[in-house]
């Protein structure tokens, strides 16, 4: 009777590794058939040996060890564990979404702030905006990017703090600068609705992709994603300029609060006052956004990291879908499905 085992293999860095491992293992008398999958880092063997998989892994490892490869069954165990984690992560993620939508629906956030808008009131508006439905887009984006960056950096031992700081700096600088510009130009650069809605849809698609990626749905079901997209993300994550630019671009993301403040900046009539309005608004949104990014960093390095990534994935996925449907409704492509 032939038995089929799949082992996890460590050390396959090159396309030629596949051929080398297959050649060595085929020479072993117990191995009847062998196939290496580089993408999944697995080795499938068919054997007539009666030994248990642990022993087989050990024996076969001793043959390929000199070439720098190790076989183990460990990865399988880990995957088994993470399969269970997703069942915990889904209700946790959904619970956060429920709380978030209840908060929106409750009307607590519909504070009327009367009178003239000053930097102080725009700071308060920023605080409210950071927990409002704008959080679905800006916060969702920050959470998904932060979690993804932490996840990748934890693997590669690179500091994620720098990336976060750059993102938030980019955001503050862009709000101050563009706010000032709105003040002098007195013209609507940031408030073209269609442009903002399209940016929002792009952001929601990024969130859905990263959300699926964080939950690990793809690796489990082996649905292949276009590799280019992931390589793109991997590349942009670690460049200095990219987090800055993404932070900068958040100025244009659709958010009613941001747009209202942009109008205030336009009517303020001077660079300094426009800048102060937008900067204090951005500072108001900062605490929640900082919490999201540094919160994910601290979870990512803790022992509940897998649960955190998957829960974050569920939350981001939910917010991404919400933002996508809302964005399509805003563009008039579909009828509005909800009123939140």
């Amino acid at each position: 009777m032939l038995k089929k085992y799949t082992f996890h293999v460590i050390g396959t860095h090159c396309p030629a590794c596949k051929i080398l491992i297959e050649d060595i293992l085929k020479e072993q008398s117990v191995v009847k058939n062998v196939r290496v999958n580089l993408k999944r880092e697995t080795v499938e063997i068919e054997t007539d040996s009666e030994k248990n998989p642990e022993e087989l892994a050990q024996i076969l490892t001793s043959k390929i060890k000199p070439n720098g490869y190790t076989l183990s069954i460990e990865k399988n165990i880990q995957e088994q564990k993470s399969n269970d984690v997703i069942w915990k992560a889904i209700p946790i993620g959904l619970a956060f979404l429920v709380l978030f939508f209840i908060l929106q629906k409750s009307g607590i956030l519909n504070l009327s702030i009367g009178g003239k808008t000053t930097p102080a009131t725009s700071f308060i508006v920023g605080l409210i905006a950071s927990v409002s439905s704008c959080l679905a887009i800006v916060g969702g984006l920050v959470l998904s990017l932060s979690a993804k960056i932490s996840q990748d950096d934890a693997k590669e031992n690179i500091s994620d703090t720098k990336t976060y700081l750059l993102f938030h700096t980019g955001r503050l600088v862009s709000f101050a600068l563009l706010g000032g510009l709105l003040g002098i130009i007195g013209n609507a650069i940031g408030i073209n609705f269609t442009f903002a809605a399209i940016l929002g849809i792009i952001a929601s698609l990024v969130m859905i992709t990263l959300g699926l990626n964080l939950t690990g749905v793809f690796s489990k079901n082996r649905i292949a994603l276009p590799g280019g997209i992931f390589n793109f993300f991997r590349k942009i994550e670690h460049k200095t300029l990219t987090p800055l630019i993404i932070g900068f671009a958040t100025f244009f993301l659709p958010c009613g609060f941001t747009q209202s403040m942009q109008v205030v900046a336009i009517s303020s009539g001077s660079f300094i006052s426009g800048m102060l309005i937008m900067l204090s608004f951005a500072l108001g949104t900062l605490p929640v956004l900082l919490l999201l990014s540094f919160g994910s960093a601290s979870f990512a390095h803790g022992k509940h990291a897998p649960l955190f990534f998957k829960s974050a994935g569920v939350i981001v996925l939910g917010l991404g879908l919400f933002a996508l449907l809302a964005g399509l409704a805003g563009l008039g492509i579909i009828n509005p499905l909800f009123n939140i």
Binding site: D84, W87, K88, I90, P91, L94, A95, L97, V98, F101, I102, K105, G107, L109, N110, L111, S112, I113, G114, T117, V125, I128, A129, S132, S133, C134, I137, I191, F193, A196, A197, G200, P254, C255, G256, F257, Q259, S260, M261, V263, V264, A323, L325, A326, G327, L328, A329, G330, L331, G332, N335, P336, L337, F338, N339, I340
Partner: protein, 123 residues
């Protein structure tokens, strides 16, 4: 805990989200006809109220959007069918001329992000 427990919690939470999304407070409609002109008033603040308005067809109609310290999405109003998009003043009233209302051509307004909407039916 058992997987089944998590699945039950998950289903309960999905139902909760469904209720939150479909539920909504009903509010008084405000349609007035003065000197042969139909005035429909809608309040924009943390969403639009009333969400659905029934109005008469065949009358010159004006839509009055009322805001009171609104900074949220509902201040950025889009009505695609008449090509209207504007950020409403934080506090004040904005009058929008809808022309002569036609039966069976409902008017839908959404906020810029698409999270809030309202509908006016003409009959």
């Amino acid at each position: 805990m058992n997987k089944t427990v998590y699945i039950i919690i998950t289903l309960a939470l999905i139902v909760a989200i469904g209720i939150i999304f479909t539920g909504g407070a009903k509010s008084e409609q405000s349609v007035e006809i003065k000197n042969g002109v139909q005035y429909i008033t809608i309040l924009a603040s943390g969403g639009y109220s009333p969400r659905t308005t029934e109005a008469k067809a065949g009358l010159p109609t004006k839509l009055i959007m009322k805001t009171n310290g609104a900074y949220d999405c509902s201040a950025s109003l889009v009505i695609r069918s008449i090509g209207f998009q504007k950020i409403l003043p934080q506090t004040g009233e904005t009058e929008i001329d809808l022309g002569i209302s036609k039966a069976g051509e409902p008017l839908r307004g959404v906020c810029g992000m698409g999270m809030y909407n309202f509908l006016i039916n003409f009959s």
